[in-house]
């Protein structure tokens, strides 16, 4: 066990390295390791080297809680970068609050949350889902079918979508959930096809996306032109597994693509490929994880300490040029200002941006700025 000597700072990386979520989370960990390596190469933080302590959440929420406890109490890490699913975050939240430790969570999620001990570097709903809906509306897609995995993110997202639809003259033709890991979509495809929606809003997660798109494509009835499927959980990494043929031309909503044109991104993509192989792609959650390390390091520098409270105090207002553009920490919610982007999956498997919000959007996890969403965050 590496002792935290005077010239080292231990940080925890807690992602699923086994189980169903490993597909996505391993790459986020890799991006975080890259950031740590880069920071160390540049002299570390406060003159000390960062030492990553990697733990496996094993796609199992209670394990996330246990490993988080271990990182905090046993390894006494300065902070933890970790999680992907909302379930894992919900499981870790009480642990971080109980021990007053810090978690950096890198994935887009359903909002309606802000813990003083969590920094959210992925998008909240007003930075991804609502822009996605705006995009559909702009395209004249008014009749929408909702398809999602059966857990908290899709269900909450769909609640927001329905409220949005009610306020914006959209019609929701159906709302279907399938268990995580579900792979038989013929019935669902039949339902979708029969409903003849203008568009599908897809919040399926993980392997189900592969089955869904393959089976939708071979049913032949839907094409990206007459019935686009807008996805919010499919990034570059997932496209290969789905098969480009099955998803090319479909829209996705994120804050970052590998093709995003910033100098910081050029460097990030280059460094990532150099470290992990030229065939590898980068994606939004990876970039958010990569950012998280830099943002924390910046806060530590500013605070002059790795202690939790000074870092929290120092964090608000920190703004860095990141691969996705300017990212600023919002002190009130501990979420980030992020630029929303709609992209289209290209035949080469990359995603080309077709729309962006022009500037970073202020995070609004409780959608306080949207009158139609008033009922959603009641009780918070």
């Amino acid at each position: 066990e590496p002792a935290a000597g005077s010239d080292e700072i231990k940080v925890g990386l807690l992602h699923s390295l086994s189980g169903t979520m490993a597909i996505s989370e391993v790459t986020v960990r890799d991006a975080e390791l890259l950031a740590i390596e880069e920071i160390n190469k540049a002299g570390g933080v406060l003159g000390k080297k960062l030492v990553p302590v990697v733990e496996d959440g094993a796609s199992d929420w209670p394990t996330f809680a246990e490993k988080a406890t271990k990182l905090i109490r046993q390894d006494k890490v300065a902070t933890v970068f970790g999680g992907w699913t909302s379930a894992s975050r919900k499981a870790m939240l009480p642990v971080f609050e109980r021990y007053k430790a810090l978690l950096w969570y890198p994935v887009q999620y359903e909002g309606l949350e802000s813990s003083p001990y969590i920094f959210y570097t992925g998008a909240t709903t007003n930075q991804q889902i609502i822009p996605g809906l705006d995009y559909l509306k702009e395209q004249g897609k008014k009749r929408v079918f909702l398809v999602g995995s059966d857990y908290v993110f899709p269900r909450t997202a769909n609640k927001i979508i329905k409220a949005y639809a009610a306020a914006n003259g959209m019609e929701i033709l159906g709302e279907e959930y399938t268990p995580l890991g579900h792979t038989e979509y013929s019935t669902l495809v039949n339902k979708v096809v029969q409903a003849r929606p203008d568009a599908v809003f897809n919040t399926l997660n993980g392997d189900s996306n592969v089955a869904f798109f393959k089976q939708l494509k071979s049913a032949g009835a839907a094409s990206a032109e007459n019935m686009p499927v807008l996805s919010v959980s499919i990034a570059e990494e997932e496209v290969t597994g789905i098969g480009v043929d099955n998803i090319a031309g479909q829209p996705v909503a994120w804050n970052y693509y590998q093709t995003t044109d910033t100098p910081a991104n050029a460097a990030f993509v280059k460094a990532y490929k150099a470290k992990y192989g030229s065939g590898k792609v980068t994606s939004d959650p990876m970039e958010a994880g990569y950012n998280a390390v830099y943002l924390w390091a910046e806060a530590v520098k500013k605070a002059g300490s790795t202690e939790v409270e000074p870092v929290r105090k120092a964090a608000p207002g920190i703004a860095l040029e990141r691969p996705e553009g300017l990212v600023t920490i919002d002190g009130e919610t501990q979420h980030m200002y992020k630029t929303a982007r709609i992209g289209i999956v290209q035949p080469d498997g990359l995603i080309k941006q077709v729309w962006d919000s022009g500037k970073p959007i202020k995070p609004d996890p409780y959608l306080k700025g949207y009158p139609w969403a008033a009922g959603l965050s009641a009780g918070q």
């Binding site: 169903t20 059966d150 268990p179 592969v210 089955a211």
Partner: protein, 282 residues
């Protein structure tokens, strides 16, 4: 109405998938009494074979061999110590399945991979795409082959003899070890074939096997152990049930309904659809 009618062929095609994944189990589970939880990983091996070859048709025979050989190794290395203890094989093979999943993760990476579907499989008839028809055809072919093997060859008979009375089989001149190997080879090989077919409709990744294993065993249980016609009817029945239950409710509830129906069904036919009764007490 169209949607409703469409569910019929959809149910049949779900049944065909179930049948294809359960077919190998009628060998390993039905004939040998081995509850092979690694069956799903043999399916996965078939799928990755298709990925490596990049050609579905070529992959069918190769996956048959690859998965079959994996089964053979498993049988020789471990399972043969467990005959007569079927419930223990369940746990053993589950351990094997964990290791194989992790192995796949290390060999091929955690993300899913893509197997290109041959161009002649694009398109379809009505609601049924050609790839579904292909799977149905494969399932039918598999059933016929298994049926012929079990009832038309001496090997099939020897397989049954070994399971039913191992010691007597040995003293009747049957090389029980060879029969075990062969049976397990075929059962696993069929999983490989199923894996190739599944690349047409599902994800190809390390967790592939886990998605199908519970359903596959339900089919075998509902059909009656080792009963080919039982497995066929159970697969079709469960496929249709699944299709209509999901049509009227949702995918989650459909799964629960399927299970409830299987339990209810076992109230009427405790040993599954078809059962060979024996006078012997257990």
């Amino acid at each position: 109405m169209t949607a409703f009618v469409n569910q019929l062929p959809i149910g049949l095609s779900i049944g065909a998938v179930l049948l294809l994944i359960a077919l190998g189990l009628t060998f390993t589970f039905g004939q040998m009494g081995v509850i092979n939880m690694a069956h799903g990983e043999f399916i996965m091996a078939g799928a990755y074979t298709a990925f490596l070859l990049g050609d579905l048709v070529l992959a069918l025979p190769v996956a048959f061999l690859v998965a079959g050989l994996m089964g053979l190794v498993l049988e020789r290395a471990a399972i043969r110590h467990f005959y007569g203890r079927p419930l223990d094989t369940l746990l053993l093979t589950w351990g094997v399945s964990l290791v194989l999943q992790q192995l796949a993760r290390d060999l091929f990476g955690a993300p899913n991979v893509q197997v290109p579907a041959p161009s002649w499989l694009t398109g379809g008839v009505g609601i049924l795409p050609y790839n579904r028809l292909f799977i149905m055809g494969l399932a039918v072919a598999g059933v016929v082959a298994v049926w012929a093997y079990l009832t038309r060859t001496g090997l099939g008979r020897r397989t049954q003899a070994v399971v039913q009375n191992r010691q007597l089989a040995a003293t009747s001149g049957i090389d029980t070890g060879r029969v075990d190997m062969l049976t397990f080879f075929i059962g696993s090989a069929l999983a490989g074939v199923a894996g190739v077919a599944l690349t047409l409709i599902g994800p190809v990744g390390p967790a592939l096997g886990t998605y199908y294993i519970v359903d596959a065993f339900l089919v075998v249980v509902a059909g009656g152990l080792g009963q080919l016609r039982g497995a066929v009817l159970a697969a079709i029945g469960l496929g249709l049930l699944n299709s209509y239950a999901e049509f009227w409710s949702d995918a989650s509830l459909a799964k629960v309904v399927v299970l409830a129906v299987v339990i209810a069904f076992l109230q009427v036919r405790p040993q599954g659809l078809f059962v060979l009764r024996s006078r012997a007490l257990t």
